[in-house]
Structure formats: structure tokens, C-alpha cells
């Protein structure tokens, strides 16, 4: 069955605390951290962007398992911060992992769910027999305008998945999606920062799509929340996934290992792929994982995943850094240096 052959993650080492951002803008840090459930977020280095995250994550995946890269026939990178407006990030990833030139490639953009859309496309190409392996990446250097609510959470990082049929470490039993035209978050061409519908984002955006896709998945599989060991939901803040999980019937214990946003921020297209990577870092054979992403605009992709015996003997998880180890390896920046890192100071 089609599934995950190997996976890799990347989180940059710089962080800024929410209280430091609040200090600059005269906001109440305790209220913001309490409301969002986010305490610090990952910040890219000067010489990092979505393409470098995608390459590092894909190389981490290939370090864990020996995969014949000439059999990788597709690379898809999902992001809302592709370094070029025109020129694919996916070709840089393909070149850097040695998979070019006999492969197809494209970039995806669907707010925060472009990474899971890339996984779905890869599943289709593999399941149809068109290719042995496809690589799907979700990565972002998320942008939030200075002083905007998004600035407290917009973070950086990504994860990569090699999708195939051949002894997967986790089988993807099914995927389904729920999509509609909902203007809850957008960025127009040529604009530096996105805009959002504020409180409007929650109800008709996040909750409607996440809960509809999640319920559809459990209906199709005939499962209940208690059938799963772990659940990963899109995490623009800690409050939304906790509320959605609770109303669907998942417990706090099921979502905790994949809930990285309090220490990482929202890595947009990287968020669910990184949450799933954190779960795979600790998963055992037989574990069942429920995954539902969300992208503004809007849509949700749901996945039902079962971890196989191959996670013990077909990959060596220790050959690439775990999500937990990257979360713990950090250096704090003050707002001024952070603004320089993010290119917010124009000279």
C-alpha cells in the first residue's frame, strides 16, 4: 500500500519570544501568549529560505533510508513563501538531492496546506504505478506584517516525505479533502505581507474545514477518535487545534506530541508535515495517526495513517536530527536583530 518511505524535518536555530515582539508593539505579552498558546517562534538565518529548508528536510529524509534517487520521478514543494514568484523551488530540491533530470517537478501554494496537497499528489502518482517514489515537501518562512497579529506566530521550518509503495514505514490508508472558496486570509501579487479576516478566520475558515474533513475521514474508515494513538491538526496557534480536537472527541494526550506551535510558531505549509514528523520520531509499529491540515482560502486534507514494522528495521531514525532535538537547539534574538534576519529593515 502507498505510504511514507522516509521523512525528514528542518527547523532553523533562531527563536524570538512572543513577549519580545509584544514589548516592541506595546502589547500585553501575557494576554497574547495566553490567548494564542504560543510562547516563541522559529526565525530563519540570513542565508536561509524556503528552498534551503526544503533541501535540508529532503536530505534528512534520504539520510535515514537508502533510496535510489534515480527512482524519484517527482518533487513537489508546497509553500506560500517560494523565493521566486516565477521559477520553481522544486527543481532546486531535485538538483540538491540528485534526482534530476528524469523527474517532474512543481511548486504548490495553498496557504498552510500546500505541503499536504503535495503528499496527496505524490500518493496518486505512486498508487497509479506511474513512478516508484515521489518527494513531497511543506516548508515556509512565514510572513507577518510588523505589529500585525500574525507576527506573533509566523515562523520558519519544513518537512519532507518520500512517498512510495515499497515497504513504507507508515501506510496511508486513505486521504480525503474538504474545500471551498472562503476569503479568510490572502496576499495579493507584489505585496510583502498577507492580510486576514481577523476573527472571521476561525468559524467559517479553520473549524468548518478541519472538522468537516476529519468527520468525513472517520465516516469513510468507520473509525472513532479513540481508534487513533496520535492526532495532528493544523496549528496556526495552540487554541484552534485544541478546540477542534476536543469538539471532534480527541484527547489532549493524542494531540500533544504533534502540537509543536507553542515552541515553534506557525510554520504554515510546514506545520502539519512537521507535526507528523514529530509523531513519526516516537511512533511504534501499529500506531495509528490521524492527520488533518488546513489552508486558508480554504481547504483541509485529512489522512489516516498506520505505522508499520518497517519503522524499526528499514530506516535509521537516528541518522537525522529529531524534531525535538531541533526545537531544543535554539538561540534567542531580540526584536531588532530579528527584524534584520527577516529583512524587515530596508536600507
Amino acid at each position: 500500500m502507498v505510504g511514507i518511505i522516509t521523512y525528514g524535518a528542518y527547523i532553523p536555530r533562531y527563536r524570538i519570544k512572543v513577549e519580545e515582539i509584544a514589548r516592541v508593539w506595546g502589547a500585553n505579552a501575557a494576554e497574547i501568549s495566553g490567548g494564542l498558546g504560543v510562547f516563541e517562534k522559529a526565525v530563519p538565518d540570513y542565508d536561509e529560505n524556503t528552498a534551503t529548508f526544503a533541501v535540508e528536510a529532503a536530505r534528512a529524509a534520504l539520510a535515514r533510508r537508502s533510496v535510489d534517487v534515480s527512482e524519484i520521478r517527482a518533487v513537489y514543494v508546497g509553500s506560500e513563501s517560494h523565493p521566486y514568484a516565477v521559477k520553481p523551488t522544486a527543481v532546486t530540491v531535485g538538483e540538491a538531492i540528485g534526482a534530476t533530470p528524469v523527474m517532474t517537478a512543481a511548486d504548490y501554494e495553498f496557504a498552510c496546506k500546500a505541503g499536504t496537497a503535495a503528499i496527496q499528489t505524490s500518493m496518486g502518482l505512486v498508487a497509479s504505478g506511474m513512478m516508484k517514489y515521489a518527494v513531497a515537501v511543506g516548508a515556509d518562512t512565514a510572513q507577518g506584517a510588523p505589529g500585525d497579529a500574525l507576527e506573533y506566530t509566523a515562523a520558519a521550518g519544513g518537512a519532507a516525505y518520500v512517498i512510495g509503495n515499497d515497504d513504507p514505514i507508515a501506510e496511508i490508508n486513505e486521504t480525503c479533502s474538504f474545500t471551498s472558496d472562503t476569503p479568510d486570509f490572502w496576499r495579493r501579487e507584489g505585496e510583502d505581507y498577507p492580510r486576514h479576516g481577523g476573527r472571521f478566520s476561525g468559524e467559517p475558515g479553520y473549524f468548518k474545514h478541519v472538522e468537516s474533513a476529519a468527520k468525513m475521514m472517520m465516516e469513510r474508515r468507520g473509525t472513532r477518535p479513540s481508534d487513533y494513538d496520535y492526532a495532528v491538526f493544523h496549528q496556526p496557534n495552540a487554541k484552534f487545534p485544541q478546540k477542534a480536537a476536543k469538539s471532534l472527541g480527541f484527547t489532549a494526550e493524542q494531540i500533544k506530541p504533534g502540537l509543536l506551535v507553542p515552541r515553534l510558531g506557525n510554520t504554515y505549509s510546514g506545520a502539519v508535515p512537521l507535526g507528523l514528523a514529530a509523531v513519526l520520531d516516537i511512533a511504534k509499529p501499529g500506531d495509528r495517526i490521524f492527520v488533518t491540515s488546513y489552508g486558508s482560502g480554504a481547504g483541509s486534507d485529512s489522512f489516516d495513517i498506520t505505522v508499520t514494522e518497517a519503522i524499526l528495521d528499514k530506516i535509521d531514525r537516528s541518522r537525522a536530527p529529531s524534531v525535538e532535538s531541533m526545537l531544543n537547539k535554539k538561540k534567542y534574538l531580540d526584536y531588532a536583530v530579528y527584524a534584520r534576519h527577516k529583512g524587515k529593515i530596508k536600507v
Binding site: 538565518d45 540570513y46 542565508d47 536561509e48 529560505n49 528552498a51 534551503t52 533541501v55 535540508e56 536530505r59 523565493p83 521566486y84 532546486t92 538538483e95 540538491a96 540528485g98 534584520r340
Partner: protein, 130 residues
């Protein structure tokens, strides 16, 4: 750097592709078309370096050219790759972290860009290998 010149260097910059002379065993980075030791007797083949190495010597750059100005102060070093070739490279770390003999490993980073509307040059830098 012209677009064409950067494009020709993508294999060596992204994936540390160099050359090895099968006659004398010397390895070269950047790749050479000709072995300076064996001359006409040389037999050069491409090799991919592992990306592991150690710092031979370094300098902290405080007065940088425009394209690296935002990164200063930064560490520029000559490193020796474990296969034997030596190269000049950025070490991504704090200036007080670097020392002679420090083990390093390769990472994929932006090297520079031709302004806001030009090509972005990606390639290899090194970080401390803890």
C-alpha cells in the same frame, strides 16, 4: 557572476562534486579538468565529497562586501574535507565558536543574490558538526 557561470557551477556548489585523479589519488575541489601532478598521465573522475571536514584556519570578516554586509561579522575558513581536498567557505556559527581543528559538516544555504530581482545563488556552507 553571470547567470550562465553560476548555472555551470550548480553541481559543485549544491552537491560538492569534485574530481579525483585515479593515477595519483589526489582529490580536487573545485573540480579540475587536468591533474597538476600527473599532467598527461592523469585520469580524472568525478567524486561526491561526504561534506564532513575540519577547519584548517579561519578569519573573522568585519568589513564585508555589500552582498555579505548584513551577515557581518562572519566566519570565513579554509577547511579540509575528509577525502583530502581543501576549500574556502563560510562557517555558519558565532565568531567565538570557531577554532582550528573544529569538525564541520555541509549545509545548503543561500550564498548570495543578484539584488532583489536577480538570480539567487544557492550552495554549500559549513556548520559545526557536534
Amino acid at each position: 557572476m553571470t547567470v550562465a557561470r553560476f548555472w555551470r557551477r550548480i553541481p559543485q556548489r549544491y552537491n560538492l562534486i569534485g574530481t579525483k585523479c585515479e593515477t595519483c589519488g589526489h582529490v580536487f575541489f573545485p573540480p579540475r579538468a587536468f591533474c597538476p601532478h600527473c599532467r598527461r598521465g592523469g585520469d580524472l573522475h568525478e567524486i561526491q565529497f561526504s561534506g564532513k571536514g575540519k577547519v584548517l584556519t579561519f578569519s573573522i570578516v568585519h568589513s564585508a562586501s555589500d552582498q555579505y554586509a548584513e551577515q557581518k561579522p562572519y566566519v570565513l575558513a579554509i577547511i579540509e574535507l575528509e577525502e583530502g581536498a581543501r576549500m574556502t567557505t563560510h562557517i555558519v556559527c558565532e565568531p567565538d565558536e570557531v577554532y582550528i581543528g573544529m569538525p564541520v559538516k555541509s549545509v545548503f544555504r543561500v550564498l548570495d543574490a543578484e539584488g532583489a530581482d536577480g538570480v539567487i545563488h544557492y550552495g554549500t556552507k559549513f556548520v559545526p558538526d557536534e
